[in-house]
Amino acid sequence: MLSRTEGIVLRSSVFGEADLIVTYLTTDYGLVKVFAKSPRKMKSRFGSSLEPFTYSKISFIGKEDANLPRLTQSDIITPFYALRDDYNSFVSLCEILELLMHFLPERDPNAGMFSLLHKLLSKIRPGEGNELYYLYCKVRFLGLAGYLPKLDACGRCSKQTLEGAGGRFYVSHGALICDACKTDGAAAITLSQSALRFYLSFMKWNFSNIDRVKAPAPLVSEIAGLIDAHIKYIMSRPLKTAAFNGGKGPLKR
């Protein structure tokens, strides 16, 4: 059966001599892995269309439940190649892609995730500070996958008095826990009152307006640290891309 859709390349893995296995996030089929024959050869008709972040119109052929359908066509809509050319943007976006591939099941369309990833790729400007966009997307992706950390109320008693007070985020609960419900011995991250306030209002913003948010860097890194610890706990390991220091300076060696 021939399937046609639009998709964004998340990853291309070398397979055999000149072939690739390409992971797409598509509009109609969700996460799909396809087999591309000989794209690494100089005269391949696929050209650069299988490089990460490329948004293209694709066709693939295979049985409906085939694990690895064969890619027959890939026409670039937007290459987003400037994002690949900038080391820091590339590393930060790889973190988002890794997150997506970990949490999204294959062949389960998710319009929200696709739309958010496409918006992110369109919005990022190489060489500029884009931390808020990455943070926003990470949190939204966690939300869409059902792993959103609970920071608006106590994770146990749902008491909503935490906003003004900051609090302790219990990684094993994925939530803030109030003093009355706290567990001794469990690992917790202290969250400042201003960081909590910032997070709760930040998440009410629309993606398209994020460039208007002016947040102090320490607040952003406090929330980012909490989110990374939450992701690490859920995945039972840190993101592989974390070893690249989140793209903050290429010289981490």
Binding site: G16, P52, R84
Partner: protein, 197 residues
């Protein structure tokens, strides 16, 4: 003759990349028809390459003597180093006969999503070579794909403080192809890298 030994040869040949069962069968019967000394030489070459091949301690090319022929050559230009991802890339560059400098093999390319970090490649060794002096130019000949590009950019940043010339091989259209069939990115890069004639 027992069919077992032929089957075993076929099974072993199918382990090679790009060799399916049918091709393996054809190769096995060709080997069977070869003169005994040719077959022996082939088998010996396979064993030799496994037993004697080692990485050159200078450039990390695959060789049977350390340092390799290229690194120990007295006629090559030691001031220029071409950085490649894999030893097989050296063969491709050497085929051009247009480069007479030295090489440095990284043994891979950076890939954040696969967790391939700089310390897993031979980047520190390249820095040490540059630090030792005598190198005026480093030519980044990593693959023209995302991983190769990221690796080239990373190494460029690392080598910048040494004040040497760092160049990147050109992007463009393959000779013999047609502009009509080129994709946007390749053509954009070719236009960006155009030169006066």
């Amino acid at each position: 003759m027992s069919q077992g030994i032929i089957d075993e040869l076929i099974n072993n040949l199918t382990k090679l990349p790009g060799i399916g069962r049918k091709t393996a069968q054809r190769l096995a019967f060709y080997i069977l028809s070869m003169p005994a000394e040719e077959a022996r030489a082939m088998a010996a070459a396979i064993i030799d390459v496994k037993e004697k091949a080692l990485f050159c301690s200078v450039c990390f090319n695959i060789t049977d003597s350390d340092p390799c022929d290229i690194c120990s050559s007295t006629t090559r230009d030691k001031g220029r180093v071409c950085v490649v991802e894999e030893p097989s890339n050296i063969l491709a560059v050497e085929r051009t006969r247009s480069f007479d400098g030295m090489y440095h093999v990284l043994l891979g390319a950076l890939s954040p999503i696969d967790g391939i970090t700089p310390d897993r490649l031979k980047i520190n060794e390249l820095v040490e070579r540059v630090k030792a002096g005598g190198i005026q130019e480093v030519i980044m000949a990593t693959n023209p794909n995302t991983k190769g590009e990221v690796t080239a950019r990373y190494i460029t940043e690392v080598l910048k403080p040494f004040g040497i010339t760092i160049s990147r091989i050109a992007y463009g259209l393959p000779i013999g192809s047609d502009i009509e069939f080129a994709d946007e990115v390749t053509l954009t890069k070719a236009l960006e890298g155009r030169r006066e004639v």
